[in-house]
C-alpha cells in the first residue's frame, strides 16, 4: 500500500455513519428559508377556508344563518353540519374509538368548536365572511371541573351517546363517563398496603397543556373530478394513516387518494390526529371543484386542536420503614374534553400509563383510569411523549420524592435502593411490561458524581439555615428525576391503529454509481431523519451517508408506515432501515463473491466493501458492487440492488436517564432561577450524538415550559384564558436555562443496531426534575406537594401559604 491509501479510520470517517456528529443535511434549506411547507403550496384557482367557531363552552345551536356571509365579495360557500350530512361526514371517527363532530351538529361542546366553514377566494374574504355568519345559541350549563363530571346532576354533554352503556373500551358508569381501564393485581396490592409500615397518598395533577408546534395544523385539498382523485398536502406526522382514514370515512378508493406531507415545522403529537379542518377542506374541494387551503391560526391551534395531559393522579405507595417499596396504587381521573380523540394505539385508552411503576422494583401494583367528558377541546395527544408516559413518569417521580420526604431519606438514595437491578433485565413489571435493558445504578451514580450532589445538598442545608435566620429571601431546591421511558410502538401483538399493526418500513434502492435512495414510512417534523437514516445505511452497507437520499411523506412513493411520534422512528423504522440495508449487503456479498471468484463465505465485510479473508488486496468496494449489480450479476440472479423491509418489533425499547435540576426561588416574588440542569440520557446505541444533543435540548426546553408555566386554562364558564403566546408560556432563549448533557450506553438487546430512541426522554424526565426542584425547595417549610405549573405567582402563593411571606 502506498501513502495515498486511506487508513481504516479515514475510510470509516468518509462514510459519516453511526456515531458521527454529521451536520443536518436538511438545515441547508431550513436555514435559508427554502423549506417547502404546506402553506408554501399554492395551486391555480386555490380557495381558502376558515371556521366560524363557538364563543360558548356548551350551548344548543338553534340556527345558523349564512345569507349575509354569502353576500361578502369573494365568499363562495358556507359549509355547515347540514351540508356535511349529505355526504355522511357531519361526524368522524376518532383514533380512540369515539366519534367527533366535524361541524356543530345541534350543539357545541367546547369554546372555539368548529361551527361552520366559510370558503372564499382569499383568506381575508373568508374571515370577512365568518363575521357575517349569524349563529343563534342557547347557552347550557358548562362542565369544566372533571371531578364533577360524574356527579349525578352533572349536565349531559354527549346527547349522541344517550342510552349507550358501553363505549369503545367497555362499560360506561355515567353519561359523562368514557371508559374505565384497570391493570394489575388489586388484591395483592391491597394486601401490600394493609401490611405496609409506611404509606403515602397524594393527588398529583399533570395539568392540561398543548404541544404548540410553531407551524400550526394545515392542509391543501385538491379534488380532481375527472380522475376522481383527491390529493392532500398536509402537516401529517402519519401520512399513510391519514390516507387510510380518509379512504374509510370518505369512501374513496385508497389508490385514488394521494397524501403528501411536505416539510413540517414541528409536530410534538399535535399532527397525528385528523381534524375537522382536513375534512372540511376536502369536502369544500369536492363541492367547488377547486383546491382548498385551510391554515389555522395560533389561537385556533392552542384552543381547539388537541391538548395534551390533563391527568389527575391519586397516587399511593406502600413501603417498609427502611424505604423498600412494596406496592403502588394509582387512580387517574382523565379529562378528555368533549370527544375522546386521544391518539393512542387503539387498544390502549390510557396509552402506556401502566409504565407508572417507573424504574423501581415494585412487587405489586394496581392502576385504574377513568376517562370523562368535559366542555373542553378534545385531544389528549402525546406531546413529545410515548402515549401518557410523561404523565406516568411525573406521577411516580413526584411520588418517590414524597415518600423520601416522609421517610426522612434523601430522594436519590431512596431511588438507588429501589431500582431494578442490572441482573433483573429483561424485567417483568408488575403492570405487564418487559423492560429490555438498563443499568440504572450506574447512570444515577454518574449523575451524582458529575454534579457533586452531596455538596449541593450541603449548600442547600446551609441556605435553609440562613433563610430561617432571616439572612436571605431565597430558597434552593434540588430536583432529582430518574425516568424509564417506553417507546417504539409497537409490536403487533399489542399495538395497532384502527387494526393496522404498528410496524414500520424502509425501501432502499442503490443506483449504479454507488448512490441510493431510501424511502420510509416515517415522517420527520424536525428530528433530522434525512441525516440520521442515511447514517445507519452508511455504516450498514459502506456507502457514504452523503450518497444516500432519504425521502419521506409521500404515500404514493413511500412504503406503508405508521409515522413519527411516540419516539417510535428509531426503534421501529430505524430497525427496518438496518434490516433493509442488510438485505442489500447480502446480495452485494453474492455479487462480490462472483466478481472476486471466491465463495461467499470467504468474504468479510470491511468498512466500505468486501475483502477476501486472508487476502487483503482482493477487495471490491460497495461502489463497484453497485455498478456490477447493473451489468454483471451472477447467473440466475435478478439484476438491480434494491430491498424492502417491514419491521414488526419484538418488544418496546426502554430508554432511561438521570436528571438533576438546581433551582433558586425568591419567595417575595416567586421568581425562580434554574441555576443548573444536568441531563444524563441512555438511549442505547447513539446514531448521531449532535442530533441527540439537539433533541435533548429541545425536549428539556419544552419540559421547562410545561413545569414552569405552560398551561391551557379554562375559567369557570369554560372560556380558554391562555389562547395566545402572551399567556401560554413559550420560553424564548432568554428564559431557557443552560443544559448540561451526558450519557451512558446500554444497547437494546432486541434492536438490530441497539438503538432505543431519544426524542421524548427529555420531556418525560425533565418535567419531574423541575417540579421536584420546586417542591424540594419548599419542603423544609412543611409542604409535601405543590401542583404544577410552578409559575411566579403560584410559587409566591406557596410561600405565602407556608408562612414564608407575610
Amino acid at each position: 500500500m502506498n501513502d495515498m491509501t486511506p487508513t481504516r479510520e479515514q475510510r470509516t470517517a468518509a462514510l459519516e455513519g453511526m456515531g458521527c456528529k454529521r451536520k443536518r443535511v436538511e438545515d441547508i434549506r431550513f436555514t435559508q428559508g427554502k423549506g417547502n411547507y404546506v402553506d408554501d403550496v399554492k395551486l391555480p384557482g386555490m380557495l381558502h377556508g376558515d371556521f366560524v367557531r363557538s364563543p360558548h363552552a356548551h350551548a344548543r345551536v338553534k340556527a345558523i344563518k349564512t345569507e349575509e356571509a354569502l353576500k361578502v365579495p369573494g365568499v363562495l360557500a358556507v359549509i355547515t353540519a347540514e351540508t356535511l350530512k349529505t355526504v355522511n361526514l357531519a361526524w368522524m371517527p376518532t383514533l380512540a374509538g369515539d366519534v367527533q363532530m366535524v361541524l356543530a351538529d345541534g350543539k357545541v361542546l367546547f369554546q372555539n368548536q368548529e361551527v361552520a366553514f366559510v370558503v372564499a377566494t382569499d383568506r381575508y374574504a373568508a374571515d370577512d365572511g365568518i363575521n357575517k355568519v349569524e349563529v343563534e345559541y342557547e347557552p347550557l350549563p358548562p362542565l369544566v371541573d372533571p371531578f364533577k363530571a360524574m356527579d349525578h346532576n352533572a349536565p349531559v354533554l354527549r346527547e349522541d351517546l344517550a342510552g349507550k352503556t358501553t363505549g369503545a373500551h367497555g362499560p360506561r358508569k355515567h353519561h359523562n363517563h368514557i371508559f374505565e381501564w384497570t391493570v394489575g393485581d388489586k388484591d395483592l396490592t391491597d394486601a401490600a398496603f394493609r401490611r405496609a409500615e409506611v404509606t403515602i397518598k397524594e393527588m398529583i395533577s399533570y395539568h392540561r397543556t398543548h404541544p404548540s408546534p410553531l407551524e400550526t395544523c394545515q392542509c391543501v385539498c385538491s379534488f380532481d373530478k375527472v380522475k376522481g382523485e383527491l390529493t392532500i398536502w398536509g402537516t401529517f406526522q402519519a401520512p399513510h394513516v391519514i390516507r387510510t382514514v380518509v379512504s374509510l370515512i370518505a369512501k374513496l378508493p385508497e389508490q385514488k387518494i394521494h397524501v403528501i406531507a411536505p416539510d413540517i415545522g414541528g409536530g410534538f403529537g399535535n399532527k397525528v390526529g385528523a381534524y375537522p379542518g382536513y375534512i372540511c377542506a376536502a369536502v369544500a374541494s369536492i363541492v367547488t371543484g377547486k383546491p382548498v387551503k385551510w391554515v389555522e391560526d395560533r389561537i385556533e391551534n392552542l384552543t381547539a386542536t388537541s391538548f395534551a395531559r390533563d391527568y389527575h393522579m391519586t397516587t399511593e405507595i406502600a413501603a417498609t420503614k427502611e424505604g423498600k417499596v412494596t406496592g403502588l396504587r394509582v387512580h387517574v381521573l382523565a379529562d378528555h374534553g368533549a370527544f375522546d380523540a386521544c391518539a393512542d394505539p387503539s387498544k390502549w385508552p390510557a396509552g402506556f400509563f401502566n409504565i407508572v411503576t417507573g424504574s423501581y422494583d415494585f412487587p405489586t401494583a394496581h392502576l385504574t383510569v377513568d376517562g370523562v367528558y368535559t366542555n373542553k377541546a378534545p385531544g389528549g395527544v402525546a406531546y413529545r411523549c410515548s402515549f401518557r408516559v410523561t404523565e406516568a413518569a411525573y406521577c411516580i417521580e413526584r411520588a418517590m420524592d414524597i415518600l423520601a420526604q416522609k421517610l426522612g431519606m434523601d430522594p436519590a438514595e431512596l431511588r438507588l435502593k429501589n431500582f431494578i437491578k442490572p441482573e433483573q433485565f429483561p424485567y417483568h413489571s408488575a403492570l405487564g411490561w418487559e423492560y429490555d435493558s438498563g443499568d440504572y445504578h450506574t447512570a444515577m451514580r454518574k449523575m451524582m458524581e458529575t454534579t457533586d450532589y452531596a455538596a449541593l445538598r450541603k449548600e442547600q442545608a446551609d441556605k435553609r439555615a440562613a433563610f430561617k435566620r432571616g439572612e436571605t429571601r431565597e430558597i434552593m431546591g434540588l430536583g432529582v428525576s430518574f425516568f424509564t421511558e417506553i417507546v417504539g410502538a409497537g409490536p403487533s401483538k399489542n399495538c395497532d391503529i384502527l387494526g393496522i399493526a404498528m410496524f414500520d418500513s424502509c425501501e432502499i434502492r442503490m443506483h449504479p454509481t454507488g448512490a441510493g435512495i431510501a424511502r420510509m414510512g416515517t415522517k420527520s417534523q424536525g428530528q433530522g431523519h434525512e441525516t440520521t437514516w442515511a447514517q445507519i445505511i452508511a455504516t450498514e452497507i459502506g456507502i457514504p451517508a452523503d450518497n444516500i437520499m432519504v425521502e419521506e411523506g409521500n404515500t404514493d412513493t413511500a412504503p406503508y408506515g405508521l409515522g413519527t411520534y411516540g419516539s417510535r422512528s428509531t426503534p421501529v423504522a430505524g430497525a427496518a432501515i438496518a434490516m433493509a440495508a442488510r438485505k442489500i449487503k447480502a446480495k452485494a456479498q453474492m455479487i462480490a463473491a462472483y466478481k472476486l471468484e471466491v465463495h461467499e463465505d470467504d468474504l468479510e465485510f470491511d468498512i466500505d466493501g468486501f475483502r477476501v479473508k486472508g487476502l487483503p488486496e482482493k477487495f471490491m468496494s460497495m461502489k463497484d458492487i453497485c455498478w456490477a449489480a447493473y451489468n454483471s450479476v451472477p447467473p440466475g440472479m435478478e439484476p438491480g440492488l434494491e430491498a424492502v423491509s417491514y419491521y414488526d418489533p419484538p418488544n418496546m425499547t426502554y430508554p432511561f436517564g438521570a436528571y438533576l435540576c438546581v433551582m433558586d426561588i425568591d419567595v417575595d416574588t416567586g421568581v425562580y432561577k434554574v441555576r443548573r440542569f444536568y441531563a444524563l440520557d441512555d438511549c442505547g446505541t447513539r446514531i448521531n450524538p449532535m442530533i441527540i444533543e439537539g433533541q435533548v435540548h429541545g425536549g428539556l426546553t419544552e419540559a421547562f415550559a410545561i413545569a414552569m408555566g405552560q398551561e391551557i386554562r379554562y375559567d369557570d364558564t369554560g372560556n380558554v384564558v391562555t389562547g395566545s403566546f402572551m399567556d401560554f408560556f413559550m420560553p424564548t432563549m432568554v428564559e431557557t436555562p443552560h443544559w448540561e448533557t451526558d450519557f451512558t450506553v446500554t444497547p437494546s438487546p432486541h434492536h438490530p443496531i441497539g438503538a432505543k430512541g431519544v426524542g421524548e426522554s427529555p420531556n418525560v424526565g425533565g418535567v419531574p426534575a423541575f417540579s421536584n426542584a420546586v417542591n424540594d425547595a419548599f419542603s423544609f417549610l412543611g409542604s409535601t406537594h405543590i401542583q404544577m405549573p410552578h409559575d411566579f405567582w403560584r410559587n409566591w402563593k406557596a410561600a405565602k401559604t407556608l408562612g414564608a411571606v407575610a
Partner: protein, 287 residues
C-alpha cells in the same frame, strides 16, 4: 387573526395628517409603529376603516435638547431611544425601561408616541412620563395644545386625546445631575407586559432622600403617581421600615386586574416589592 378591510393613507405633513383625520372622521386612526394597533386589528378588537400612517411626516421624528428640556418626536422608535446619546446622558431611565419593552423587532418599529398615546395600562412609558413630569404636545383641527402627562390618562384606552388629534412631541425636563433612577419591572418572559413595575427618580442629600417621584405601571387602569409612597421615602435613608411603609402606601392606591400574570393580591404584593427594589437601586445610583 385577519384584520377587516381598511384603507391606508400616508400624508407627508402634519397639517396633511390632521386634515385627513378630520375629513375621515371617527373611523380613522393614526398608525405609528403598529405594534399595539395592528394586533388589535387582527383580533378585530379594533376595526378602523382608515389608517393614517404617520411615517411620512418627517417633523414627528427626532430627539433634541432645548435648554433643560429634552424634546422627543412622537415617531421616535424605542430603538432610537436606546441608541441616543442625549437620552443616555440626560434621561437614562428611559433607556432602562425601553430595553425592557418587548423584543428588538418590536422596538425597531414601536414608537414612544404610540406607546404613550395607546392608553393601555400595560405600556411602560406612561408611568415614566408622569414621574419625569413630561408634557405632551397635541395637534388637532382646533390647533395645538399641551397636556401634562399626569393629566393625560383617564382610563384604560381613554386619554385626553380628542378625536382627530395627533400627539406630535413629548417634552421632558432634564432631572438634576446626580439623580438616581430605576425602573423595576417584573414580567413572565421577554415580550411580556409588566406583572407589576415601578419607576423611581430621586435625589439624595446627606445620605437621605431629598426628592422622590414614584410611578407604577399596570397596577391600575391608568399609570399611577405614588405620591404618598414618595413622601414616605423623602427624608429617610431608606431603612427597612421606610421601604415597607413606601410599599404599603403604593399598594394602597393599586387596583390591578387579575389575569394570567396572577391574582390581584399577588400583583399588588409584587407591586410593593418593585417599589422597594426601585427605591434601593435608585438610591444606590444617586450621587
Amino acid at each position: 387573526m385577519i384584520p377587516g378591510p381598511f384603507s391606508y393613507h400616508r400624508p407627508a405633513t402634519l397639517a396633511g395628517a390632521v386634515k385627513l383625520l378630520a375629513d375621515l372622521g371617527d373611523d380613522a386612526r393614526p398608525l405609528a409603529g403598529g405594534h399595539s394597533l395592528v394586533p388589535m386589528m387582527k383580533l378585530r378588537l379594533a376595526t378602523p376603516t382608515h389608517l393614517v400612517d404617520l411615517h411620512g411626516v418627517a417633523d414627528l421624528k427626532g430627539i433634541s435638547r432645548d435648554g433643560d428640556t429634552i424634546v422627543i418626536g412622537a415617531m421616535t422608535t424605542q430603538h432610537e431611544l436606546l441608541t441616543s446619546g442625549d437620552i443616555r446622558q440626560s434621561l437614562p431611565i428611559l433607556q432602562e425601561a425601553a430595553a425592557l419593552i418587548a423584543d428588538p423587532q418590536v422596538r425597531y418599529l414601536g414608537t414612544i408616541g404610540g406607546n404613550v398615546a395607546n392608553g393601555d395600562p400595560g405600556n411602560d412609558m406612561p408611568a415614566l412620563m408622569i414621574v419625569l413630569g413630561a408634557n405632551f404636545r397635541l395637534s388637532g383641527p382646533g390647533g395645538e395644545r399641551e397636556v401634562a402627562a399626569s393629566e393625560f390618562y383617564q382610563g384604560a384606552y381613554f386619554t385626553a386625546l380628542e378625536p382627530g388629534e395627533i400627539l406630535t412631541s413629548i417634552s421632558i425636563p432634564v432631572p438634576p445631575a446626580g439623580h438616581g433612577y430605576a425602573y423595576e419591572k417584573l414580567k413572565r418572559k421577554v415580550g411580556d407586559y409588566a406583572t407589576a413595575a415601578a419607576a423611581v427618580v430621586l435625589t439624595m442629600a446627606g445620605g437621605k432622600v431629598a426628592t422622590c417621584a414614584i410611578g407604577l405601571t399596570n397596577l391600575h387602569e391608568t399609570p399611577l403617581l405614588a405620591t404618598d409612597a414618595a413622601n414616605a421615602a423623602i427624608g429617610s435613608n431608606l431603612d427597612a421600615a421606610t421601604l415597607k411603609q413606601a410599599a404599603s402606601a403604593a399598594e394602597a392606591i393599586m387596583a390591578p386586574a387579575a389575569d394570567a400574570r396572577g391574582p390581584v393580591e399577588y400583583r399588588k404584593h409584587v407591586g410593593g416589592i418593585m417599589v422597594m427594589r426601585a427605591l434601593q437601586r435608585a438610591a444606590g445610583r444617586a450621587a
